[in-house]
């Protein structure tokens, strides 16, 4: 049995230590906001926060999460989720929507570490997240807006 902390709650899961965090949270905890896109750390759809860092959960074994805090889209702290989700809604970013939670989780790391990101900063933060529908231009606009909303909230 493995003890996990996810979105502030404690869980006990009966899985082998090599099971990727992604499948523990999707298949065992039924938290399906985090998505499977490639299983090879190529697309970022699986991005969750582990002790605040944006890891690729599709290849990170659950053993890595023991004693640490996992945060998924469902539990993203309001100081980050509020400006991001408001901006994402204002710009109407999603198309099929499948990649969007991963995009937001990656953007959250950027906003936490940089309160006024430039376009280059956005490239540096977000080039790991694939959007097949091509919403990149709106993602960029939404990140700028989210940063603005976050700055005016504090």
């Amino acid at each position: 049995m493995i003890q996990l902390t996810v979105n502030g709650k404690q869980y006990e899961v009966d899985v082998l230590p090599d099971m990727p965090i992604l499948w523990v949270i999707r298949d065992k905890l039924k938290l399906t906001g985090t998505k499977f896109g490639c299983g090879a750390a190529q697309c970022g759809a699986c991005t969750v926060h582990l002790d605040g860092q944006g890891i690729r959960s599709c290849i990170s074994p659950v053993s890595r999460a023991v004693g640490k805090e996992i945060v998924t889209i469902e539990g993203l702290q309001p100081s980050l989720s509020k400006p991001l989700m408001e901006a994402w809604t204002e710009i109407d970013v999603p198309q099929c929507g499948y990649c969007q939670t991963g995009q937001i989780m990656a953007a959250a790391i950027l906003l936490r570490e940089n309160n006024d990101p430039s376009d280059q900063d956005i490239d540096n933060a977000m080039s790991g997240n694939i959007c097949r529908c091509g919403t990149y231009q709106r993602i960029r606009k939404a990140i700028h807006l989210a940063a603005e909303l976050k700055r005016s909230a504090t």
């Binding site: 298949d27 039924k30 697309c43 919403t135």
Partner: protein, 722 residues
């Protein structure tokens, strides 16, 4: 001379409509819904299959088409909401169940495709909303003992003088009234929703907060997860596999042989994946083991040398060619492509003695029902499909043979379990149903003004429509019109007196099917590259030249000129930068794209800007149109730069995004979209601009570097410098 054996996408649509009896207005409500409603809700107004209004004022729209990112969740709902005068904020949307009530108004089956949802539902959905409003008004008028025309509606209320009543309060009375034969629709001048900029997508909130349910997210109690070892070619068979090794993996429950391969069923995704790896399935690829991309290309060229079936054959193009002032010969090659939607395929099936329940993201509900009925022996109306959000499709979920649904039903049948069959990304990239590889070869003679007077063309590639339900209307006299889509019907080609357009169709074991824009995904690249070469051959500016070619097509001229204007065509650019244009009609809309690019020293391409002019007739959801243009530009750019599926000894060489690379945010150009104001009938959007992006890019590379690219993907440009 009028070319024979050719039909445009418009004619294809019209001819299918004729065979299916024209427009269908379904004013009945499927039995399943009526029954469920009776059990769960006391008051529900169900004037037709598309709408349910509750006593709590909730307005539920049922979509006959599926949402895959193209935005119909919102734009179809706008049609109903406009006529209904409901409170927009009380709107809920659902995918309709699989039922004849939801048959496509043209294709006589329940399906989504061809960028046709909005224009095929433009009348039906508005009528659905208008009918409901009419009945609600009648109910209120009856209650107040006034005439209907003394009532008006606004934001979910019926109002007469100082009296008003919520829609929700009227549901019982309205339910008892007979439906009118017909109802008038609103004057567009009074539209508050249709065509308005401020409308936000209704599905965005749940896609942003992670609550949206895609097929991949479905969980049924007791469900097992299955993965299948399969190959993307026909005629293969399994030689051997190690069942015991798979069963030894913790969490694996069963191994079963099915028509497409070997399935491993396990407690969860991870166990299924490890179990399948342990199987070590060995395949005999049969004829397909000789598939090698080099020899496939050689064969395409040899077939082009040989000639094919004539789609058009008029006059004497060879003679006219020899006498032409300008002579141009060019050959364009484009590879097999995977659609690669972000959500890999999946399908959950619960099969019992008397029904088959399916949960998946699919565009082909009726085809899927028929496939499941055939496999299980159940009647079609006992096959229930819950359509989930599609995490992208681009053609992969529009498969008339229902490949992934069939497979999932086979597994449920073989095991008796509730099973979610899932595909990994490798399964997706290697899974077939590719856009076929195509070669287009041209021999064109131009007169002194540059107009083409002789046109000889041989196109070579597999037929997408043969063997499918649309074969009879799409394959005419041996020519799959989708293989040469938009070529013989190009306005200036139709006028050429001396022309021969031939198609040679190989039958290879590679499994092929729909890819976004279908034939236009490769024909527009060939045509707009050739047109660009024609312009340069006669030393005319590419925009000026196209003005000449398209002078009789005002809507195409319109977008051409708008894109040229908004991109500052002709204004000076820094050294090494170039602009390229492509303008074409696609899915009943007109799109012109101007790309502005540089090529860096190492040959990599930098796209700075794309200017898009789109005439889609009436733009029902303008911001949705802009979003689709931006997205298509990203999709087309990614494809032209990077995408190819190659074969070596029958194996697909690409596996995942590390060797089937996708455009990323730092490569996305600035996109500026301009919608031509129009009251023409709505045209399609989803596939309207993918094809144009590719030649706009290569034409711009030519302008920047003098290098003409005739083969895709580009990857890097050989500038001959580094």
């Amino acid at each position: 001379m009028k070319p024979s054996g050719s039909i445009s996408r418009r004619q294809f649509i019209r001819s299918t409509a004729l065979t299916t009896g024209g427009l269908i207005i379904a004013f009945h409500v499927p039995a399943g819904i009526r029954k469920a409603a009776a059990l769960t809700e006391t008051s529900l107004f169900m004037p037709n299959a598309f709408l349910r209004i509750g006593a709590d004022d909730s307005v539920k729209v049922l979509l006959s088409h599926c949402e895959m990112g193209q935005g119909i969740w919102t734009s179809l709902s706008m049609l109903i909401a406009e006529e209904l005068d409901a409170d927009w904020h009380k709107l809920q949307v659902e995918h309709a169940p699989a039922d004849t009530a939801y048959y496509h108004t043209i294709y006589a089956t329940q399906r989504t495709g061809g960028s046709s949802s909005l224009y095929s539902e433009f009348d039906r959905y508005r009528k659905a909303g208008a009918t409901a409003r009419h009945l609600l008004v009648q109910a209120a008028a009856n209650r107040w003992k006034v005439n209907s025309n003394e009532c008006r509606t606004e934001n979910g209320y019926v109002i007469s003088g100082d009296k008003n009543v919520r829609y929700g309060e009227l549901v019982q009375e309205a339910s008892a009234l007979p439906a009118p034969a017909d109802v008038p629709l609103k004057d567009p001048a009074s539209w508050k929703i249709i065509g308005k900029e401020k409308i936000k997508k209704l599905d965005s909130p749940e896609k942003i907060n992670g609550k949206a349910v895609f097929g991949m997210d479905v969980h049924i109690p007791g469900m097992l997860t299955a993965m299948v070892s399969r190959v993307p070619v026909s005629g293969a068979r399994v030689i051997r596999y190690n069942e015991a090794a798979a069963m030894a993996v913790p969490g694996v429950r069963q191994v079963v042989k099915i028509p497409t391969g070997i399935a491993v069923l396990a407690d969860d995704f991870w166990a299924a994946k490890k179990g399948r790896e342990a199987l070590k399935v060995q395949w005999d690829l049969g004829e397909a083991s000789h598939l090698n991309s080099d020899s496939l290309l050689t064969e395409l060229k040899a077939r082009a040398d040989k000639g094919g079936t004539a789609a058009t054959n008029a006059g004497n193009p060879d003679e006219t060619f020899s006498k032409s002032k300008y002579k141009l010969e060019a050959e364009y090659y484009q590879p097999f492509l995977a659609q690669a939607p972000m959500e890999p395929l999946n399908c959950t099936v619960q099969l019992s003695a008397d029904k088959c329940e399916i949960w998946t993201g699919t565009q082909t509900q009726t085809d899927d029902q028929r496939a499941a009925a055939q496999i299980t022996g159940l009647p079609i109306n006992k096959v229930f499909i819950t359509t989930c959000f599609l995490g992208g499709s681009f053609g992969r979920r529009n498969i008339t043979r229902s490949d992934f649904v069939r497979e999932a039903v086979e597994i449920a049948k073989a095991t008796g379990k509730v099973v979610k069959t899932v595909w990994t990304r490798e399964d997706d990239i290697q899974g077939g149903m590719y856009r076929p590889a195509f070669l287009h070869r041209f021999k064109v003679g131009l007169d002194a003004s540059g107009m083409p007077v002789s046109w000889k063309q041989i196109s070579v590639g597999q037929s997408v429509m043969t063997g499918g339900p649309f074969e009879k209307v799409a394959v005419i006299n041996g020519v799959d019109m989708f293989s040469i889509e938009g070529m013989q019907t190009a306005p200036f080609v139709k006028k050429i007196k001396d022309q021969k357009i031939e198609l040679n169709t190989p039958t290879w074991p590679v499994l092929i099917d729909n890819w976004r824009a279908v034939g236009l995904s490769h024909t527009i690249f060939a045509m707009e590259s050739l047109i660009d070469e024609m312009a340069y051959a006669v030393k005319k500016d590419p925009v000026a030249y196209r003005r000449m070619l398209y002078k009789d097509v005002p809507r195409l001229l319109g977008v051409l000129n708008l894109a040229a204007e908004k991109s500052n065509w002709g204004s000076p650019l820094p050294k090494g930068r170039g602009r390229g244009i492509a303008a074409y009609e696609a899915v009943a809309s007109y799109v012109a794209l101007v790309a502005e690019v540089s090529v860096l020293k190492d040959g990599s391409v930098k796209v700075h800007k794309v200017t898009c002019a789109v005439d889609c007739g009436l733009a029902i959801h303008p911001d949705g149109v802009v979003a689709q243009m931006e997205g298509s530009i990203g999709y087309g750019l990614s494809t032209a730069l990077y995408s190819e599926i190659t074969f070596k000894n029958g194996q697909v060489q690409q596996k995942n995004f590390y060797n089937y690379p996708i455009l990323r945010i730092h490569e996305m150009p600035e996109v500026n979209t301009f919608i031509v104001p129009s009251n023409e009938k709505p045209g399609g959007i989803g596939e309207a601009s993918v094809g144009q992006m590719m030649p706009a890019l290569t034409n711009a590379i030519f302008a920047a570097t003098g290098k003409r690219i005739r083969n895709l993907p580009i990857k890097k440009v050989n500038t001959g410098t580094a």
